[in-house]
C-alpha cells in the first residue's frame, strides 16, 4: 500500500535542488545585512554589567553631545507596556514580563539603553558616555535557591502578568508550573519489581546560528514601518511590535528575507521592538545587528533542567510507573517558560506504555541569560534523563535495550493518555498513532552500528569503545493551535506564484512547499515561483517552529493547489466543451476525449479570451493531531580513560518522517540536528563566574563542532505514510537533536561502566567519574 503510493509521485519524494539554492551558493544579496537602505543609521545597546540592579539614575546627555549620535533611548523614552519576546500564537502562553527598556536589569547582558548614530563605531563609542547610577541588588543563579522563600525577587514590577489564566507567581520567582497525573503512581511503584530513581542535570546551550540576530527598520513612502528581520515568526513579529510600541498592526510590514539559521533562537521577537522604537524616534532607517558575544549573552539559550526521574518496571519488562519532576531555569525572563516544560513531558512520555504516569514541573526565574525556544524544545532535555534511565533499567531487568524498546513503544493504532492530558500550556489533544516506523528504525539502526557484536565486546586498555542507543519521538505542529495558509495564482505562461506565510530559515521549506504545489498541480517544481514570509503579500502562517511547516503549511499548500487545479479543469472543460470530470492532467497538459489543451492555453484563455478571471485560490489548514516522527539513535564512542576525553566514532540515526518530500533535505535536517546534539553533549557549555557573567562568549571557548571533529554520521530514512500529512509526510527538523546526550551517555557506560547523569561530557567530568569508579 505504502510503496504503491510513493511510486506514483512525480515531484515529491524527489531530491530537488533548493529553489533558493542558486542565489545562496553564489552569494546574491539575500540576507538582512545585504539590503542597503539609503540614510541608514546604526544602533548599539548598552548592556548591564550587573546580574541584578535598579537604575537609580540614567543620563544620556554626554552621549548625545558626540557628533554623529542621533538619539539615545532609555526606559524613560519607551512605552511601559509589558510583552513577551516569545514568538508564539496569540494569546501567548509566556508571561508578559519584558519591556523595550526597563528601569531594572536582571542579568549580566540585560539592556540598559540604546544609541543610534551615523556609524556603528560612533554608536559604540557613545555607549561609554551614558551615565548610569545603579543600585545593585542581591542576585540568584541557582534555580533551587530562586524558588526558596526569601530569594531575591526578579520580577517585582507590578505590570508582570500573563495573557492567559495560568499559574504565575513572580513574587516567588515562579514563572510557570505544570502537573499531570495518569493512573495511580504510588500503586504503579508498588507493583514494580524494580524501581530506579535518579537525578539528571542538563546544561545551558546556545543556538550558534552563523548569522546573529539582525533587524533593519525603515519607513516606506507612505510612512508605514517596514521591518526587515531575521526571524522565524514574521506574523508574530508584526503583532508583538504593534503591542510593544502601541501602534496599529496595519502600519507595520514585516519582511523576512533569507535567514542564516535560527534553530528556535529566531522564534523570539528579540530586537525588533527595540529597533522599531529607535527608528520611530529618529524617523530614519535603523539597523541593529548582534555581535557574536551579544548573541551568546543577550540572545537566547537552551533551558537547563534538573530532572528527578523514577520508573517502576516488572520483571517481564512492563513499565508500571513513570514519575518525572523537572525544575527548569528560564533565566531572567520567561520566554517559553510553560510550553517548553510541557513539551518535556508530552514529547517523551507517550513513547512507551505505562498505565501510571506522573509529571510535574516548575519553571523559575534566575539572574542568568534568558532561555527560549531551541530545536527539540524541552524534549532534548527530558530525553537525556529518560533515555539514560531506560538503559540503566534494561540492564537491571536483564534485557537488551533494543529488544525492550520494541516491546514497550507506542505503535500504529495505539494512543497514550499523555496526549490528551498534556498539551502546550493547556490540556492536550487526544490522538491515535497513524504511522510508526520505530521498529524498522530500531532494526536498521542496530544493524548499521553492528549492535550485538559491539555492545558485548570486551573493553580493556586505555582507549575503550562502547555503543549506546536511545529511541525518540517528537511531534508535527501544535494541534488545534497552529495555522498555515497559502495562495496560488496562475500566470499566462502556465507558471504559478506560490505565496506562503511559512518561514524558510534554511530548512528548505520554500522548496518542499513548491514541490507539494507542483505535485498537486501536475507540473514540474520549476514552474512554481515562491514568495514567502512578507506580511503584506503572503497569507498568515504561525511561522517556523514546533516541527510544523511540512505537515501544517504543506497541507495548506496542497489544499490550495487542489482548488487551483479545479479552476484549471473548469476552464479546460469550457475550452474543450466537455465535462470537467472527464478530463485528466499529465505534465501540464489536460486531456479530454475530444482533444487536449496545455496549461499555458488555459491561462491565456482565462485571462484574455472569454469569461475572463484570474485563476487563483487560497486555503488555510489547522491540524487536529500532531503525528510524531520516530527515531532510533545509535552511538559508538571511544573513551580515553587517562584523559577522560570522549570521541564519537560513528553515529547512526534511523528516522521515520513519513514520506520525505525531499529526501536530501530531510537527511540534511537530521544530520544538522544530530551534530548539533553531539556537540552540545560533548563540548558546548556556558561558563559563568560567581557574579553571573558568561566568561566564554565566542567560538574559541564555546566550542561547536567543525569538520575536523566530525564523526561518521549515517542517516537512515525509514519511509512510512502518515495519512493526515501532505503526501504522507510528518516532521523531521527537531527529533534528531534529542538523541546524542542519552545515546552517548549510554555508550560511555557501555565502554567504561560509568553512568553520567550530568551533561556535557567534558573530559574533566568524565575523568572524575572514572577516578571515582576506580577504573584502571
Amino acid at each position: 500500500m505504502m510503496d504503491e503510493k510513493i511510486k506514483k509521485f512525480q515531484e515529491v519524494n524527489v531530491s530537488k535542488i533548493k529553489v533558493d539554492g542558486p542565489a545562496l551558493v553564489s552569494g546574491q544579496p539575500s540576507f538582512v545585512a545585504d539590503f542597503f537602505v539609503p540614510n541608514m543609521l546604526w544602533a548599539k545597546v548598552l548592556w548591564s554589567p550587573y546580574a541584578h540592579a535598579r537604575i537609580k539614575n540614567i543620563d544620556p546627555r554626554p552621549a548625545l553631545k558626540i557628533p554623529g549620535v542621533k538619539a539615545v533611548l532609555t526606559y524613560k523614552d519607551v512605552p511601559r507596556i509589558p510583552f513577551t519576546t516569545a514568538g508564539q500564537g496569540y494569546p501567548e502562553p509566556s508571561p508578559y514580563d519584558s519591556f523595550i527598556l526597563d528601569n531594572k536589569v536582571r542579568f549580566v547582558g540585560d539592556r540598559v539603553a540604546a544609541v543610534v548614530a551615523e556609524t556603528e563605531e560612533i554608536a559604540e563609542e557613545a555607549l561609554k558616555y551614558i551615565k548610569v547610577d545603579y543600585e545593585i541588588l542581591p542576585a540568584v543563579f541557582d534555580p533551587r535557591e530562586a524558588i526558596k522563600p526569601g530569594a531575591p525577587i526578579i520580577h517585582d514590577e507590578k505590570e508582570a502578568t500573563t495573557a492567559l489564566p495560568l499559574k504565575y507567581e513572580p513574587q516567588r520567582n515562579l514563572c510557570a508550573h505544570v502537573d499531570m497525573q495518569v493512573g495511580d503512581i504510588e500503586k504503579g511503584l508498588k507493583d514494580a519489581d524494580f524501581v530506579l530513581e535518579r537525578e539528571y542535570d542538563i546544561h545551558y546551550g546556545n543556538h550558534a546560528m552563523i548569522e546573529p540576530h539582525i533587524t533593519t527598520v525603515y519607513f516606506d513612502s507612505n510612512g508605514r514601518m517596514v521591518i526587515v528581520t531575521s526571524t522565524q515568526v514574521p506574523f508574530h513579529v508584526r503583532r508583538i511590535v504593534a503591542r510593544a510600541l502601541n501602534i496599529a498592526v496595519q502600519n507595520i510590514r514585516v519582511i523576512k528575507p533569507r535567514i542564516g539559521g535560527g534553530f528556535g533562537g529566531k522564534q523570539e521577537v528579540l530586537i525588533e521592538p527595540l529597533v522599531a522604537a529607535l527608528a520611530w524616534k529618529v524617523r530614519q532607517p535603523v539597523c541593529l545587528k548582534y555581535s557574536r558575544a551579544e548573541e551568546f549573552v543577550s540572545g537566547r539559550c537552551r533551558h537547563p533542567q534538573l530532572i528527578k526521574l523514577r520508573t517502576g518496571v516488572k520483571k517481564d519488562g512492563t513499565i508500571t510507573a513513570i514519575d518525572m519532576k523537572i525544575l527548569m531555569n528560564n533565566g531572567a525572563y520567561g520566554a517559553h517558560a510553560l510550553t517548553i516544560i510541557c513539551n518535556s513531558g508530552s514529547k517523551v512520555l507517550p513513547l512507551v506504555h505505562s498505565e501510571n504516569i506522573s509529571f510535574w514541573g516548575d519553571t523559575v526565574y534566575t539572574n542568568l541569560p534568558v532561555c527560549g525556544a531551541y530545536r527539540g524544545y524541552g524534549a532534548t532535555e527530558a530525553y537525556f534523563a529518560f533515555g539514560v534511565q531506560m538503559d540503566e533499567m534494561a540492564e537491571k531487568i536483564g534485557i537488551d535495550i533494543v529488544e525492550w524498546y520494541k516491546k514497550i513503544h507506542i505503535r500504529e493504532g495505539e494512543t497514550s493518555p499523555v496526549f490528551a492530558a498534556l498539551g502546550e500550556g493547556r490540556a492536550g489533544v487526544e490522538q491515535k498513532i497513524t504511522s510508526c516506523g520505530l521498529d524498522k528504525c530500531l532494526e536498521l539502526g542496530a544493524k548499521e552500528i553492528n549492535w550485538s557484536e559491539k555492545r558485548n565486546q570486551k573493553k580493556t586498555g586505555r582507549f575503550r569503545r562502547g555503543v549506546g542507543m536511545v529511541a525518540l519521538m517528537q511531534g508535527s505542529a501544535i494541534p488545534e493551535i497552529d495555522m498555515g495558509s497559502a495562495t496560488i495564482k496562475m500566470n499566462e505562461d502556465g507558471s504559478f506564484n506560490l505565496l506562503i506565510g511559512a518561514t524558510d530559515l534554511g530548512t528548505g521549506s520554500d522548496t518542499i512547499l513548491a514541490q507539494i504545489a507542483a505535485e498537486t498541480l501536475g507540473v514540474p517544481t520549476e514552474k512554481i515561483i515562491v514568495t514567502s514570509s512578507d506580511t503584506d503579500l503572503t497569507p498568515f502562517d504561525v511561522g517556523a517552529y514546533a516541527s510544523s511547516t511540512t505537515y501544517l503549511s504543506g497541507q495548506a499548500v496542497l489544499k490550495t493547489a487542489q482548488k487551483v487545479k479545479q479552476q484549471i479543469l473548469n476552464v479546460a472543460a469550457e475550452m474543450l466543451n466537455e465535462p470537467a470530470e472527464n478530463l485528466t492532467i499529465e505534465n501540464g497538459i489536460i486531456y479530454g476525449k475530444s482533444g487536449k489543451v496545455t496549461y499555458q492555453e488555459v491561462a491565456l484563455f482565462s485571462l484574455y479570451e472569454k469569461n475572463q478571471f484570474q485563476i487563483v485560490a487560497s486555503d488555510s489548514h489547522i491540524v487536529h493531531k500532531s503525528p510524531p516522527p520516530f527515531s532510533a539513535h545509535f552511538a559508538e564512542v571511544e573513551v580515553d580513560i587517562l584523559t577522560g576525553k570522549v570521541k564519537v566514532i560513528k553515529y547512526v540515526a534511523a528516522v521515520d518522517c513519513g514520506t520525505a518530500i525531499n529526501p536530501r533535505l530531510a537527511e540534511g535536517q537530521n544530520e544538522g540536528a544530530v551534530l548539533n546534539g553531539i556537540s552540545y553533549a560533548l563540548t558546548e557549555r556556558y561558563i559563568f563566574n560567581e557574579r553571573g557573567k558568561m566568561l566564554n562568549p565566542n567560538f574559541d571557548y564555546y566550542k561547536i563542532f567543525s569538520t575536523a571533529d566530525l564523526p561518521e554520521i549515517k542517516t537512515i530514512l525509514v519511509p512510512t505514510y502518515e495519512p493526515t500529512g501532505p503526501y504522507g509526510a510528518k516532521s523531521i527538523s527537531e527529533v534528531g537533536i534529542n538523541g546524542p546526550c542519552p545515546a552517548i551517555a549510554n555508550a560511555i557506560y557501555n565502554a567504561i561502566g560509568v553512568r553520567l547523569y550530568q551533561t556535557p561530557f567534558i573530559p574533566d567530568k568524565v575523568l572524575e567519574a572514572i577516578k571515582k569508579a576506580g577504573i584502571k
Partner: protein, 157 residues
C-alpha cells in the same frame, strides 16, 4: 581619500578605503560584494572567507589595505545563477546548502583546496574546511559536495 588597487574577481579596481584599519570584510561589503558574510568578527567562524592570491583568509581579521595590487576572489567571482561553477553546482546537487550563510566561505575554501589538491582525501577535506563553521548541515553533505566537485573537476580534464 585613501584608495587601493586590488584585482577583484579578475577585474582591476580602484576603490576607496574608509580608513587605513578598515577590514577586508567591511571594505568588500561596503563596495557591494555582499557574498562575504559576517559571522563573528573574530576569525573563528569562517563565514567571511575570501581568497587573497588564491589563499583563503578570514577577511574580518585581514586589513583591506594589504590587498593593494593583490588578487581577491569572492563568491561573486565564481559563478552566478544560470552560470554556476562546478563547486557551486556540487554544493546544490548534494544538498550541502541549507541556510546558505556559511556557503560562500565553504565554497571558497573548497576552491582553494581543489586548486592545490584536486583529488583530496576525506581527511584532507576535513582539515581544509575546519575553519568554516556550519550549524545547519552537520557537514555530511558539505564533505560529499567537495568530493563531487573533485569528481567534476576530474571529468572536466
Amino acid at each position: 581619500m585613501l584608495k587601493i588597487r586590488p584585482i577583484i574577481n579578475g577585474e582591476k579596481k580602484e576603490l576607496d578605503l574608509k580608513d587605513p584599519l578598515e577590514t577586508l570584510l567591511d571594505f568588500l561589503r561596503r563596495h557591494h560584494y555582499v557574498g562575504v558574510k559576517e559571522g563573528c568578527r573574530q576569525g573563528q567562524c569562517g563565514a567571511c572567507t575570501v581568497l587573497v592570491d588564491g589563499r583563503p583568509v578570514n577577511s574580518c581579521l585581514y586589513l583591506a589595505i594589504r590587498t593593494d595590487g593583490k588578487e581577491i576572489t569572492t563568491i561573486e567571482g565564481l559563478g552566478r545563477p544560470g552560470n554556476l561553477n562546478f563547486i557551486q553546482q556540487a554544493f546544490l546537487e548534494t544538498g550541502a546548502v541549507q541556510c546558505g550563510y556559511c556557503t560562500p566561505g565553504m565554497v571558497l575554501s573548497t576552491r582553494a583546496l581543489l586548486d592545490k589538491n584536486p583529488r583530496p582525501t576525506e581527511e584532507e577535506i576535513k582539515i581544509a574546511l575546519d575553519g568554516n563553521l556550519c550549524r545547519c548541515t552537520g557537514y555530511v553533505k558539505i564533505i560529499e559536495a567537495v568530493k563531487l566537485a573533485a569528481q567534476k573537476l576530474k571529468n572536466k580534464k
